[in-house]
Each structure stands twice: as structure tokens, then as C-alpha cells.
Symmetry: C2
Subunit: 519 residues, 2 copies
């Protein structure tokens, strides 16, 4: 028995009707009581990916416990280790960071206050390829997981958990944690039941078997999450919306890059490397540029495209509506409240066009390679040889984190990295002699795109890559200085020519003069 | 019908008996005549991996044609593009480089003269993850392949090709080239027939299916290579041995690192992360350090280990003899002539313990991850955050190339990188503030080993990684300077602290003073 779309339960009924399993009902308690079950130095696994489906009641209750202790005693004991799928939102990372309750954080963060604490070295932050974190937790890299706090949409009479707007690492956390707190959120659309595909039979090495996924739209697992009732120490009822980040409308640079990428798709179709009708499965990273690429597809001639990605955002729903996208696989549905209402109302339609998977599957190298995914991700900067920095401004201060860019970029059939050619009104060049932080090496970056054009690096030696990058995607204001660097380095020789006494000088010049431009 | 171990043909019979297919016999010709069929600006795919199984007659004949033209006309027209499995030897890369006949080279080289030409920017050199090259050629990244020159051990009456001591990209080159020259080498042990597993059903994306390999010792393909007779323009008979590189006996540093790694295996067994009896499948890179690790296994208590690697070298045969290794999968058998004789004489035994696969399979990310391979590879240097340089001394001059280090390092269950802590009698530290070339980012390097100890980086944030590396694997002479760099960088803040005005200064100091040691 399930709370599926054929069930009598709808979101207009009382929150309590979301918990049908009788042994789970017995554990219903307040957020504050649940928060008290989390030890102050616990390692905690939260649900949540891209602002979707994080627990919304217990983390703020923990933050309040910390604040209360501090008010009482002048300090508090909270030093949590926090693991998630990816980013949560203000209501989880944010409030806990505000309370100073986070000691370490894995694998991704997008909260501004927590970012400050990470860059001020107050919080230990470990970026991990999103596909690999669950396995690393199983192997014990982060010690025992004391508590999992997982938000779900409901609990069936049989005690199965109906997932919400993301899957992330939820099943892994339910498996690994010593104790489990469930948040049952009646805002989460129970109508999505049946659109999840929990495949968790990944086993340990040597017990590994091929993952049987051959097509983007295939279901290979269970629609529900599972947890032994003995581990569940609290069930908390909530009714709070997701806080997925909003996107700005595409600006001129983003529209230019999107147009360049569409032209490139046509070029690849003509070369016989992509099917003319459906291209190859697309992955589109987080951010405004990636969003603009999706938006530009809306006016294209393509129909029935497949997406194999992390996030389904508002723009993707529009593409499904228009038939441009035939099917979208992801691990999270990060939608605005209005879009969510639209999806809920037409769930019969969308359930045939969407599947949510655990991030071990959505980001799985085996599958990304097998399916031939075209990976399109933003970058902070690239160097003249095509090494890409996805994460650290000026090489030291992290923005968000690695996320899935390595999972897709390394294993995709094609990996495209995108950025405007300059930042800060031209004072910063996104093409530099030597990237101050490298997340993706020249061996894994095949195409760079800026508003100036596209650098197709496939099959090129380092010096040819450099010329292609400087000529095609660097801003004209910086082409002279980049060519000067390259030519003087070439005169010294070496397969990858560099001048190490000035390789990083552009950053120092910017600090000194406010611009990377040669004076 | 095949020339298998049950056939009447042995290597004591005439070379001509290795070519049973009548339509192939008609094409037997001289190396010089075959060489004339290769256009001077052709893109050529050679067999060959790790000094094993490269064509030994036609490349020298091409070099002679170039030399003759130069003697005659003062210059020659030879500007070949050369693609292989991995390294060949003097008899292929070497003689062609000597003749100045190579314009560009993909994906790996170990020849000294060709290395000089690459670093002097006379030859374009493109390093590619070894697992990915065949796919990139199929996709046309390197244009049409005009000619494949593939060495085999024999040709059956049915026209099937019996492979020699490596598989590499041989089937891919036979598939992709416009014309094919076969070298049938009677030195190649025909007795190996049945030990190859040519799985080539990789298809293009969207047609991809799971690769059905679940165990290191499984056969999933054909024992033979296939080529349409219409494409074969010449068959050349040879009788020349492979030129696999010799290893020196392990020195004290290598023995120390091997001991450290064996201790680590015990630690992992105790932590429940590796089976006590057979550990996990081992991959061991090229070089003396990797060889020393294998040698040290000989005196261990392990029995029935599995290896899933690129190369089977002499040491591996000894481990199979003693029962320490139960099964070894690779793409090349790079043995000394004496070892090869031993293998040929006891082929019935070794055929149960060895399989050779195409490098798309031996180095396949899907399989390396599924099997849980422990990847152990040498490095040029690492920086304090665990970014690893595998290829370029001082960041500019390539040694050999990326090879399979990324295939295994990125996808292995564990990735270990190894090097003595210093070079040039202590004048160079292998642990530096910022690696001058990065092949493997901090997200893909989990364990560093030097003769000083082991840095276990799993689950650590950047600053913790730095402290672990400096304390455990840096040489004591450099620990002070590295700690000083780290602490002053930390004072400036940032998730990955750096001082960019001095990050590369150690290289300049070495150039200036002959030592990286602070003066």
C-alpha cells in the first residue's frame, strides 16, 4: 500500500495524514524534542540538494538550543559535522552557521555566512565529487554518522518513506546513521510518488555489478526510501516550502554564450557526432549561464531532448511543456513555489517526463560515460592550456564548491566550461596564464565558451590549445598580454611552456591596481 | 579453425606458417614495399604498449625512406601523425624521431629523442587518458586514420588475427584505418592464443550498454582481432623481440615505500575496508617504485591477489609463480626475453592466470570503479594540498606522459601516489607549495607515500591535508619552509590558503642556486 497518486491522501488534508505507518505515528514529536536527541558534537547527515528537500524544522531547533545555551552560559557546545547531498538553504546551513554550530561541512555549500566561516578557516570544509560521498561515508572516511535528519513527503502504512523534491544521499544516510529523525513535510508534493527511482544496490567493491541503466528514462529501483523502524527516534511534522535559489533573466553575455553553444551543437550534428533530432543527453550545471543555455533551447528546433543532470529547475519544466525536452533525469527538483504548484496539478503528465535518482546514480561516472552526456558547467576561470578553476576566486576563497562538475566534466562525452571572458567590468580576465586553483585539468576540458566565442580543444597539443583559447575566448583587452606571455614562455621551451616568475602575477596586479590589465 | 595451443603450428616452424589465411598470404611483401604505401603526411595508428608488440619492420623502413629522400634531396616530406596504445620503443618511436619523420604524437611517449623533440616544441604531443583515445579517434578528433600498422602473432586459416604481447588500441585502429599493414612476428608467442579478450562492443553513446565484466578473471569478448581483408594492403613477416624496458633492483627508498604500503594494506584490512585474504584488485603503475611494491608482495602473507592493471612485468610473473597473485588482467605483457621464454614453456599454467584486454577495458573507469581497484602510481611531485604532478618536471618539460594514471587514480577505490621525498641528493623537494603542473587534483588523490611515511588524506579539508602531508611525507629538511609557507598563507585566510607571490619561488630558487632549500 502506498500514498501514491491513486491514494486518497492529498496535501489539503491534515499533516498527520501523511504518516500512515502506525509505528512511525508513535514517534511523532516536536522539532525541539527531536533536536535534543542530536548530541552537540554529532556527525549529522541531512537530506537536501540544491535548496530542495532539506529538513526545515530540526536544524533551526538545534540552532535555537545552541543560542539558548550561549545566552545561559556564555558559550555553547555545538560542533556539528554536517553532511548533505549538496547545498541546503538558509533554513538549514544558514541558521546553524549563524549559531556557530558547524565544526565541519561536507561536500557542498551555497550559504553566504557559512561560506564566510569556511574562508575565514572557522569551519573545516571538504569538497567531494558528489557521486562519491555516499561511498566515502560507508567506508568510514568521516567516522560514524550519529544522526540522519531526512525530510520526506510521507510514510506509507507499510512504513515505506515517500521521498520529496530530492533524493541526494538520503538512502545512504538512512542506511549509515545510528539514529534517524524524519521530517514529514506536507508541503512536499505527495503526487510525485512514483517519480523517484531509488537504486541503492551499489554494494562495496568486488561485489559490484553493472548498474543496469541503459536509457535516461529507465527505472531500475524502488519508488520509496527504506529505514528500519528501530533506528527512527523521532518523526517531526512540518509544512514549509523549499528555498531553491532564484535565477536572474539571462543577460547579454549569457545569451551570447547560449547561442554559441547551439551553433556548436549544429556543428557536431553535421560532423555526425550527435543525432540530429535528439542530440545527446544534456547536463547543465547550476547558475545563470547554464540557465540561459536551457532558456535558449526553448526557441530551437529540437524536440524530445534528454537531460541527465543534477537539478531540474524552472526552465526545464518549460522545456518539457513545449516538448523540447522529452525526459529529464536528476536528483533534485529545485523549483519555485509557483512551478511546483504547476507540476503538482499536472502530475500525471510530468511523471512520464521526470525521474529523480540518488546522486550516486545521477552523477555516476559509469552512467555519464555510457549515456554520452554533454556536460555544460560554469567556471571561475581557465588558464591558457585549458585547466579550469570551478571553485576558488583568486585561488583561495571558495565560492560554492566542486559539486558535480568533476563527475560530469570528466566522464561526459563532451565537457564544456563556460564563463563571460571578464568580470568586474573588465578588470578581471577569466583567461589567465596559470589558473590559481585547478579543479579540472587540461585532459578533461574539451570546449571553453565565453561571450567572445568557442575554443574547441579536442585533439590539440598544449601550445595549440593556448593559441585556440587566446584567439577565440579571451577578451581582446587581454589577448595581447596573453600572447606575449605564451610567446616568451615558448622561447624558453618545454611541452607546456610557462614563466613561473610571472605566472601568478596577474592576481597580484589586480590586488595592487584593481585590474589585471597590464599598466 | 585457429592457431590455438591445440594447433600444430609452433614457433619453431617457419615464419610463413604463421600466416594461414590464403588471402592474407597473397599480401605478403617486404617491409620496404609496405613502407612505400604509407603517405608521408599520413595519420598512422601503430600497435604497441609499454614496449610490447609495436611493429618492428615497417617503422624503420619508413625512417629509411625519409633518410634516403633527405640524402637525395636535402630534405624529406615525412610529417607523420602517430597514434599508439602507449609507449613503443627505439625500433618505432625512436627510429622515426631520429629521422625527423614525426609531426605529432598521441597519447604517450617514452623515447628519449622524441621527448627532446616534444620539449623543444618540434613535435606536437597530445596526452590523452589511455582509456579514452580509441573513442576520440572514432569521433574524428584526430581526423581520418590513413594507415594502421599492427603487429600480430599469426593469422588463422579463417583470417582471424592472433594477437601478440599487447592489445592496446589494436582493434580500434583496425576498425578505423583506411588501410591496414599487418606485421606477423614469429617471435610473438603463438602459445598465448586464448589469453586475449577482445571486447569491442563499446559502441557510441546512446547505444552504450553496461560492460558485462564483474570479475578480474572473466572473459567477455573474442580471443582474436578482426579486420576486413579488403583493407589489408600488406602483410610483412618479422622475427624480432619486444623491447620492454628493464627495471633496476629496488633501492632503499623504494623498499621503504613498499613496506609503508604493505602496512597500510594491513591497516585497511583491520578497518574492514579490504578483504583480509585477497585485498582488492591492485593496479601498479610503470616505474621502479611500483615495481618495488610488487617485489615486496613476494614476501607477504597474501595469496591469490588479483591485479587489474595496464602492464604485466617480470615481477608479476614471479608473483603468479609463488601464488601471491592468483590472476592478472592487463593490456600488455611487457617481459624480458627470458621471462617470455618461461611463460611460453608453461603456457598452460599461465593462461589460467593472465588475460590481456583492449586498453579501453583495462583502463575503463566503469570497471576500475566497479572492481574497487587500488591504484598505485608514481608522481613527479605533489603540493601541500595533494594536487599531483605526474608528468612535467619543473612544470614545463614532459617526462613520459599522463598514461593511465588518471584512469586509475580518479576511478580507483583508493588512489595512492608515490615518490621519494626529494630528488637530486636533496636539492629538490617533491612536496612543494604549489605544483607547477597538475594532472590529478586534490579531489582525486587520497594517499601520498614517500620513504618518510604515508599521508592519509581521506576526509580532510585543505589545511588539514597540508598539515598531514608536511608532517608525514615531506623531507625534514623542507618541513620548516613548508610549514612557514602554510602558516603565513593561513594568516591571509581563504579555504585553500596560498601566497601567490611566492607559490612558485621554489622552482626559481632551484634554478638560481641549484637547490630548493631556503638559503
Amino acid at each position: 500500500m502506498s500514498l501514491s497518486h491513486t491514494s486518497s491522501v492529498s496535501d489539503t488534508q491534515s499533516q498527520n495524514d501523511r504518516v500512515l505507518g502506525p509505528r512511525f505515528r508513535e514517534k511523532i514529536t516536536s522539532a525541539k524534542a527531536a533536536a535534543r536527541l542530536v548530541q552537540p558534537a554529532a556527525t549529522v547527515g541531512l537530506s537536501g540538494f540544491g535548496g530542495a528537500n532539506h529538513p526545515k524544522a530540526v536544524p533551526p531547533a538545534i540552532a535555537r538550543l545552541a543560542d539558548e545555551q550561549r545566552a545561559r552560559e556564555g558559550h555553547h557546545d555545538y560542533r556539528l559535522g554536517l553532511l548533505t547531498g549538496a547545498s541546503t538553504a538558509r533554513g538549514a546551513d544558514g541558521v546553524l552557521a549563524d549559531a556557530g554550530a558547524i565544526a565541519w561541512r561536507v561536500p557542498y555549500n551555497a550559504d553566504a555566512e557559512l561560506r564566510r566561516q569556511i574562508n575565514d578557516l572557522e569551519v573545516d570544509y571538504v569538497e567531494v565529487h558528489l557521486s562519491r560521498l555516499a561511498q566515502q561515508v560507508r567506508e568510514g572516511y568521516f567516522g560514524r554518522m550519529h544522526t540522519a535528519i531526512v525530510e520526506v513527503a510521507g510514510i506509507t502504512a507499510d512504513g515505506e518513506l515517500i521521498p520529496g523534491s530530492s533524493l541526494g544521499n538520503n538512502q545512504a544516510w538512512l542506511d549509515e546513521a545510528d539514529q534517524v529523525i524524519l521530517e514529514v513535510n506536507s508541503w512536499q508534493p505527495i503526487e510525485l510518488d512514483g517519480a523517484h527511482d531509488v537504486y541503492q544496490n551499489l554494494g562495496l567493491p568486488l561485489n559490484g555489478t553493472p548498474i543496469p541503466l541503459k536509457h535516461v528514462n529507465q527505472h531500475i529501483g524502488s519508488p520509496h526510501l527504506h529505514v528500519p523502524i528501530e533506528k527512527v527516534v523521532a518523526v517531526v511534522l512540518t509544512d514549509l516550502p523549499d528555498e531553491s535559489p532564484a535565477f536572474t533573466d539571462p543577460d547579454a553575455d549569457s545569451r551570447a554564450m547560449a547561442g554559441i553553444i547551439l551553433d556548436f551543437f549544429e556543428h557536431e550534428v553535421k560532423a555526425g557526432r550527435m543525432p540530429a533530432d535528439t542530440l545527446l543527453p544534456l547536463q547543465s550545471g547550476v547558475g545563470n549561464v547554464a540557465n540561459a543555455v536551457l532558456a535558449s533551447l526553448a526557441t530551437s528546433q529540437y524536440r524530445g531532448l534528454n537531460c541527465y543532470s543534477e537539478l531540474i529547475q524552472d526552465g526545464m519544466i518549460d522545456l518539457i511543456d513545449s516538448g523540447v525536452v522529452g525526459f529529464a533525469s536528476a536528483t533534485a527538483l529545485a523549483l519555485s513555489p509557483a512551478k511546483f504548484e504547476q507540476v503538482k496539478k499536472n502530475i500525471g503528465f510530468y511523471r512520464d517526463h521526470i525521474v529523480l535518482r540518488p546522486q550516486e546514480i545521477s552523477n555516476n561516472p559509469e552512467l555519464i560515460r555510457r549515456l554520452g552526456v554533454v556536460a555544460m558547467n560554469s567556471m571561475v576561470e581557465a588558464d591558457i592550456y585549458g585547466n579550469v578553476n570551478s571553485t576558488h576566486v583568486n585561488g583561495t576563497r571558495v565560492v560554492n564548491g566542486l559539486g558535480g562538475s568533476g563527475d560530469y566534466g570528466r566522464n561526459g562525452y563532451l565537457s564544456v566550461f563556460m564563463s563571460p571572458s571578464t568580470a568586474k567590468g573588465g578588470a578581471i580576465s577569466k583567461i589567465v596564464p596559470f589558473a590559481a586553483h585547478i579543479d579540472h585539468t587540461e585532459h578533461d576540458t574539451q570546449v571553453l565558451v565565453t561571450e567572445r566565442g568557442l575554443a574547441d580543444l579536442r585533439g590539440l597539443s598544449p601550445v595549440r590549445r593556448a593559441r585556440t583559447i587566446i584567439d577565440n575566448v579571451a577578451h581582446p583587452d587581454y589577448q595581447g598580454a596573453l600572447n606575449d606571455y605564451l610567446e616568451r614562455a615558448r622561447a624558453k621551451g618545454g611541452h607546456v611552456p610557462h614563466l613561473f616568475d610571472e605566472a601568478f602575477e596577474w592576481y597580484a596586479r589586480f590586488e595592487r591596481t584593481g585590474s589585471m590589465l597590464p599598466q
